[in-house]
């Protein structure tokens, strides 16, 4: 059975330290001032009891099952690989940016070197190919990110998904992301 890679970002464990973002840049040689991954720090938000919290929002490709980017791509340069990872074949990309326009998650940017859209690949071309976990997962000091094969019931991600409530960003669009978010327990969910 083919693998189906997914990821969980736990908003309770995340502390917004940006280590994931920096690891992503160094492992994947991301050019200056563009990002495959950012962790937005929102707040502080005041809770009803007067205490305050920050919210941490992971900004990256969510690897949809129903991919708006692949549907609109005129040349087939945007595609999903056999393991469910959404990728860009820069050789046949013309740079029309239809995929950027179609992405509801602002996950894509124009790589200043290839001039093609670039995005999170779950480190397929770097670490995943060597059998290692994606860079962001590897460096996270609080283990807020879980990565693995959703099709494998014994994988860590399958276990966490069985035990924790998760939600999808923009679930209303029916894109069915493989990025699952464990909502902040305090103050209610704001997707």
């Amino acid at each position: 059975m083919a693998k189906k890679y997914g990821m969980i970002h736990d908003e309770n464990l995340c502390i917004g330290c940006q280590a994931c973002s920096i690891a992503c840049r160094s492992e994947n040689d991301i050019p200056e001032s563009v990002y495959r991954l950012q962790v937005r720090v929102l707040g502080p938000k005041k809770l009803p009891d007067g205490n305050m919290i920050f919210e941490f929002h992971r900004q990256s490709c969510v690897h949809c099952e129903n991919t708006p980017c692949v549907t609109v791509c005129p040349t087939g340069a945007s595609f999903v690989d056999e393991n469910g990872i959404s990728l860009v074949n820069t050789d046949i990309c013309v740079g029309c940016l239809y995929c950027n326009a179609a992405c509801p998650y602002d996950a894509r940017f124009v790589n200043p070197i290839t001039h093609a859209p670039d995005k999170c690949t779950f480190c397929k071309e770097s670490r995943l190919g060597r059998g290692e976990e994606p860079a962001c997962v590897s460096v996270c000091p609080t283990e807020a990110i879980v990565f693995g094969d959703i099709n494998d019931p014994t994988s860590k991600i399958s276990k966490v998904l069985s035990q924790r409530p998760t939600y999808h960003q923009r679930a209303d669009l029916g894109t069915e992301p493989k990025m699952f978010i464990v909502p902040n327990k305090k103050g209610g969910i704001q997707s």
Partner: protein
């Protein structure tokens, strides 16, 4: 200063800037002008006029290929990898409206070029520089028994080209103003409106000797009807967004009331593009008066209005997503 998570520059909501708006305008105008030229050619046979010499047919025959080619060049140079554009021609994805558009333009562009060659045959024969085109014309004329069917097909494919520019945007689910079935209809009708205006303008400027006043009046009446159709379509677009609720409702409210683009909509799209032509039609051009000056002003404001509609939809559609 950048926030702690880094530069936000790549998150600019305007992914498709002005060249896309201009292309959408030119593609709509091209389709509209050839449709209008064909309608005149088919329907305006009164008196001694052979419609092939009608200035409106000539204007359409030259405008349709020129605008679509300029539009396509603009589009190609707006690509991030313009020299790889040939992949659009050899690698297809049939779920992509852009691929479907490429295929439609594959058929449309050569036919409008051929139409131009045939309408301007006499001119081409007179000018030495164009002499190499004569064998091409002779070859095409060998198929004259299919002329009518090709003209009908051209009309059909022009509708496809006019409407596809709308579907191109409406396929994008994340932008509520784009993701509506009204957009292709709106772009098609406003394209016809632009086609009428551009044909009249070019006809009055360059083909004065073959102007048939009756054809101009026929087109002005048609333009009035098209504008009367556009107004309810725009209304339906926003009412539809409001009834959808959620992000769509927020986007509609913002797009109609916030900042620069709301002004462009109310003063440009509605005021200049739709209300002003109606005022001209019911005052200066009342009872089908033939006043060249006013007819030209009318055509010019219609063109400005259609251009502003494309800019408004492209920019406001990306800026106001209700999220």
């Amino acid at each position: 200063m950048n926030p702690i998570w880094g530069s936000m520059e790549q998150y600019n909501p305007i992914v498709w800037p002005w060249p896309i708006a201009v292309y959408l305008f030119l593609a709509g105008l091209s389709a509209g002008s050839i449709m209008v030229a064909l309608l005149v050619k088919w329907n305006r046979h009164e008196g001694e006029h052979n419609t092939i010499w009608d200035a409106m047919v000539k204007a359409g025959a030259i405008l349709a290929p020129v605008t679509i080619i300029v539009g396509l060049l603009l589009l190609i140079f707006d690509l991030k990898k313009p020299f790889d554009f040939y992949w659009l021609l050899i690698s297809y994805n049939f779920t992509s409206v852009m691929t479907l558009g490429v295929l439609a333009l594959f058929v449309y562009t050569p036919i409008v070029l051929i139409f131009m060659l045939l309408i301007f045959e006499d001119t081409i024969r007179k000018v030495k520089l164009f002499s190499m085109l004569i064998p091409v014309i002779e070859f095409i004329k060998g198929f004259h028994s299919y002329a009518k069917i090709i003209e009908y097909s051209l009309f059909g494919i022009a509708i496809v080209v006019g409407a596809y520019t709308g579907f191109l945007l409406s396929a994008i689910q994340a932008n509520p103003m784009w993701n509506t079935p009204v957009l292709p209809l709106l772009f098609l009708t406003s394209g016809v409106s632009a086609g009428i205006a551009a044909n009249i303008l070019v006809g009055l400027m360059f083909f004065k000797s073959s102007i048939n006043k009756e054809s101009i009046k026929y087109l002005l009446v048609m333009d009035l009807r098209v504008i009367m159709t556009e107004l309810p379509l725009i209304l339906v677009l926003f009412v539809g967004m409001m009834y959808t609720g959620g992000d769509s409702l927020v986007a509609a409210k913002q797009a109609l009331s916030t900042g620069y683009w709301a002004k462009v909509f109310w003063f440009g799209v509605i005021g200049v593009g739709l209300v002003l032509p109606l005022i001209i039609a019911f005052t200066a051009l009342r009872n089908h008066a033939y006043k060249v000056g006013y007819i030209m002003i009318n055509s010019f404001v219609v063109l400005c209005g259609v251009m502003m509609l494309r800019f408004y939809i492209v920019y406001a559609g990306q800026l106001f997503t209700g999220v």
